[in-house]
Symmetry: C2
């Protein structure tokens, strides 16, 4: 049961060191799973996989089907947690290069930067294609997505007329209040809810992530099922047999030993945005009060030829957490070449996945020998269930790890500072 497991065997941490955190873990566990947890602010994600709005879930599937039928492109407008989770899941399961085949509705992303070049490139790319928009924002006033939404709303109205455009705008926002909710009520847009008790970076399994993921053609039932598996598996308060809690503890032990950078390493380019999601989750949750492990990521073997030298022989302040996809659902074999000038014939008949695996094993050995503690997360296969499980695993691990560190893993006070300065420079009324 469960499609992921964590291998701590490459670490040199004694069990008794881990057990020192037992009391702390029990307290955090009780806090997270306390009877009133659903009442607590920011803890809505804890029981979400087994306790979500089934009616809205079914509506998401219906609407996704409708969008898939009338749109070649869905423009997801959102920043931070409002797009990273969806993008992480979609790219992991569908791949790069135009989200796979052309019969699929492609999800593209806007409103996560202020680059005119990006926006113009995107508009040119959409061209004459049929498209819909999913705008995702709690308040509806965040600068980046609000600007993008004005632009794409106008594009839709020009292309389809005002009334038809309204049927191509889908809003994910607060249940009751805020600019976007008000506009949606006024215009009659279909809306979905960002729950009050779930913060942006923990929101991928709400409508925030689920609608775009379903539009991309993925099975959100399986995604929730995987998350539910994780919810059950990692609700065990026993530290030694709960790999999620153990991961949280181990990274705190390493942090105390001055390992202050954690690199999430994958051997599959499709996991690039999953790593970006992970960076937000941990960076925003733990990077405060002048503390926190700095989250970074590499895509291997690619980056063994760029960051590899540093990981092998640079400052020894690194932790490496490896995402290992155990099963492959695609493969290519190395074929014979009679001249064998490149010396590859020793690999004839071997599959690329096999070679990739050996590269991973050789790299883990080299990095561990070089003084970089490695944690290995095995993922049975790259599918909705496994990704759902992994998402919940990291969400829980992050909440626990941040709590051990002594920070509030659910706020992000530092994010407001640049905004205030920016508003002042832009002469926004009131700043």
């Amino acid at each position: 049961m469960g499609k992921i497991n964590v291998d701590f065997s490459k670490l040199h941490i004694e069990e008794k060191e881990i057990l020192k955190y037992s009391d702390s873990i029990l307290n955090i566990h009780n806090f997270l799973h306390g009877k009133s947890s659903l009442e607590k602010e920011f803890l809505g994600w804890v029981e979400l996989p087994s306790n979500y709005d089934k009616l809205e879930f079914d509506r998401i599937k219906d609407i996704a089907l409708k969008i898939r039928n009338n749109s070649e492109i869905l423009v997801v407008i959102g920043i931070g947690g409002s797009y990273l989770g969806a993008r992480a899941v979609i790219e992991a399961l569908i791949g790069s290069f135009e989200n796979g085949d052309v019969s699929n509705t492609q999800v593209v992303y806007a409103g996560n930067n202020l680059s005119s070049r990006y926006l113009i490139d995107l508009i040119n790319y959409i061209g004459d294609k049929d498209f819909s928009v999913n705008v995702i924002s709690k308040s509806g006033t965040t600068t980046e997505p609000a600007i993008a939404f004005r632009i794409f709303k106008e594009m839709l109205e020009k292309k389809y007329g005002v009334n038809e455009a309204k049927k191509r705008i889908f809003v994910t926002t607060d249940k009751e209040k805020g600019a976007l909710k008000l506009l949606a009520n006024q215009e009659g847009y279909e809306t979905f809810v960002i729950p009050n008790n779930i913060g942006g970076r923990y929101s991928v399994l709400t409508a925030v992530g689920l609608l775009p993921i379903a539009v991309a053609g993925l099975n959100i039932d399986k995604l929730m099922e995987g998350a539910r598996t994780a919810q059950e598996r990692f609700a065990n308060p026993n530290l030694l047999s709960n790999e999620c809690y153990k991961y949280a503890v181990v990274r705190n032990i390493l942090y105390k030993e001055d390992k202050n950078i954690e690199i999430l390493a994958c051997y599959e380019p499709r996991l690039y945005y999953f790593a970006e999601w992970w960076k937000q989750l941990f960076g925003e949750s733990e990077g405060k009060d002048l503390k926190g492990i700095f989250p970074a990521s590499v895509c291997l073997t690619t980056d063994l030829h760029s960051m590899g030298q540093y990981i092998q022989e640079g400052r020894r302040n690194l932790i490496e957490t490896v995402l290992n996809i155990v099963g492959g659902n695609m493969d290519i074999e190395v074929k014979e070449d009679k001249d064998n000038l490149d010396g590859l014939n020793y690999l004839v008949g071997k599959s690329l996945d096999y070679i990739n695996k050996k590269a991973m094993e050789g790299t883990i050995e080299a990095h561990v020998d070089g003084g970089v503690p490695n944690i290995l997360i095995n993922i049975a296969e790259l599918d909705e269930e496994a990704i759902g499980e992994l998402v919940y695993f990291f969400e829980l691990a992050c909440a626990v790890s941040g709590s051990i560190l002594g920070v509030n893993p659910f706020n992000q006070p530092g994010v407001e500072k640049y905004k205030r300065n920016m508003f002042k420079l832009l002469e926004k009324p009131g700043y």
Copy 2:
């Protein structure tokens, strides 16, 4: 003269601190610019912009035109320095979303990982399109590109026949020796040279980078012109008036103050691969002997909603170097909305570039206030000349900075370790 300049005004480093490095800088300067520098191993890049093989340069332009005429896609096969420089320049100047318009030949990348999913996605993406291959490898035996080359060579032969395929394979490799050179001689492939005295991460202005960049439709004369401007501007041995040397010194001063992570921040998504190139350059040059600043990157304002919290309030071991594109060649204005529910009307008539700039200024102020030293690199506009200048600026700064740090900035001994382990696990003869 020159399209880039560096603003150190956000730092709190006294001039006398910088001047302590004057002697050291003079020694390094003399080493780099010594009369016999072209004879020295690894220093071929120093005078490259003013001293390159003009005949080969013209041949690159001719061949690029030929490829542009008969290929919708060029597959660049290479790993590390053999693709990152080209990709950095192409994506900076042409953009994401299929390299801009469809009339252009699109450059795609293979042989930089061992993922079968990636390769199959890429092959599906190429589909029926006409394509050519540029395989880039000094030895011709590096596992990743060698495997990819076997596959794409076979694809070309199946599609075009053996003889026509030969005219669609372009080899960039050692001048005289190695498996790829041997194969090219045997098969009659057009070849280009990776100079002996230029390492992979310093090779973007050789045929390694120039052929793909020219195929993408960019002006490589202007690129070299920009690099030449930098070569002249930053050949000044006076530390205080040489911004390149000053950047190298300043990062070493900060490193001694325990700033051990440098984040390259851009406000333009097109610079994503430029940051990846920069990470290889600095990470591989300095990350050794248990030393070195860990290079990371963020794309803003996107990542203000993920890594922003950490940068603002996490551990204070960060340096932030900002790439600021001063002039915009595209723009979009915010338009009026009568209801103004999103509260954006205060921005009506303002351009997106202007808002992006104010976001940058507000962010720099916030991060500096938060204890992150910021270095600002202003780039007049995003064009070939500016990118050429910036490439040379960073190459020189990296060589100088690594020398100050006391490491050899031109080797990468750690990269071999995973390979040895991998070969052993793959039972390669001799391992």
